[in-house]
C-alpha cells in the first residue's frame, strides 16, 4: 500500500486528507497515479482532473510530477504552495 495525502482544494474536492491505495507498478509516475485516481470520477475528477495545476512530493520531498513512484511510502498531491 502507498499513502496518498491531499492538501488545500485538492483535499476539499476529494473530501479526505489521506488514504491508502494499492501499490502501483514501480515505474508508475505521480502523473500516472493522478490520472488513475482522477478516473474514479466525482471529487477525484474535480480535484485531480487537471494535472498542470498540481504539484507533488514523494516521502516529503518536492518532485516533478513525472517522477516515478518507485518504493515511495507517501505521495502528496497539492496545488502550488502559497506560504509566507
Amino acid at each position: 500500500m502507498v499513502t496518498i495525502v491531499y492538501f488545500a482544494w485538492v483535499r476539499e474536492a476529494i473530501g479526505r486528507d489521506e488514504e491508502q491505495v494499492e501499490r502501483p507498478a514501480s515505474d508508475t509516475t505521480v502523473a500516472d497515479l493522478i490520472a488513475m485516481l482522477a478516473a474514479r470520477g466525482g471529487g477525484y475528477a474535480q480535484g485531480l482532473g487537471d494535472a498542470t495545476r498540481l504539484r507533488a512530493a514523494i516521502d516529503q520531498r518536492f518532485v516533478p510530477i513525472d517522477t516515478v513512484i518507485g518504493d515511495a511510502r507517501e505521495v502528496a498531491i497539492f496545488p502550488p504552495v502559497t506560504g509566507g
Binding site: 488545500a8 516529503q60 502559497t82
Partner: protein
C-alpha cells in the same frame, strides 16, 4: 543560532530580535508578514504539510547559512486561522555584514513563499472563500537566488 518554529500561536518579534542581536554580529535584519484585511477579507486559513514543513524549512535555513556568513537565523511560520493584522511569518537573520543579513532575509522569505508547503484560504465577510493562487512572480524570485 538556528531557531525554526511552525506554530499556531502568535510570536514575540522583540524577543526573536533580541536573541539575534545578542549574537554580537552587529547586524540584524528581519521581515514580518501580516494578514492584510482588504477586499472584505475576515480571515486567512493556513494549512500545511506537517510531516514536511519543519524539515523543508530546516533545509532552507541550512542553505542560507551555507551561502551567507550568518551567526543566527530565526524562522517562524504560523498556520491555522489568522485574522487581519495578525502576523503570519517572521524571518530574522544576524550577521557581521549588513548585506548578508538583508540578502539572506530576502532569500528566506522568497523561499518560504514559493517552496514551503503552506496553502492559504481566504474567508470573506459575505461567506465566500477562495484558495490563494500561487503567483508566478514569487516562483521567479525564488529561482533568481539559484544563480
Amino acid at each position: 543560532m538556528k531557531r525554526i518554529s511552525i506554530q499556531t500561536g502568535d510570536f514575540d518579534v522583540a524577543s526573536e530580535l533580541a536573541a539575534l542581536e545578542a549574537l554580537g554580529g552587529g547586524g540584524v535584519a528581519s521581515f514580518t508578514g501580516v494578514v492584510r484585511g482588504e477586499g472584505g477579507l475576515i480571515a486567512l486559513e493556513l494549512e500545511h504539510y506537517p510531516a514536511m514543513t519543519q524539515a523543508q524549512v530546516e533545509r532552507i535555513v541550512e542553505d542560507a547559512m551555507a551561502r551567507w556568513p550568518l551567526l543566527g537565523v530565526s524562522v517562524i511560520h504560523r498556520f491555522g486561522r489568522l485574522e487581519p493584522g495578525a502576523r503570519i511569518v517572521f524571518v530574522g537573520t544576524a550577521s557581521r555584514h549588513r548585506t548578508a543579513a538583508l540578502e539572506s532575509c530576502a532569500f528566506l522569505i522568497d523561499w518560504l513563499k514559493s517552496h514551503a508547503p503552506f496553502w492559504k484560504k481566504e474567508h470573506f465577510a459575505d461567506g465566500a472563500t477562495a484558495w490563494v493562487e500561487a503567483r508566478a512572480e514569487d516562483d521567479a524570485k525564488a529561482k533568481g537566488w539559484s544563480a
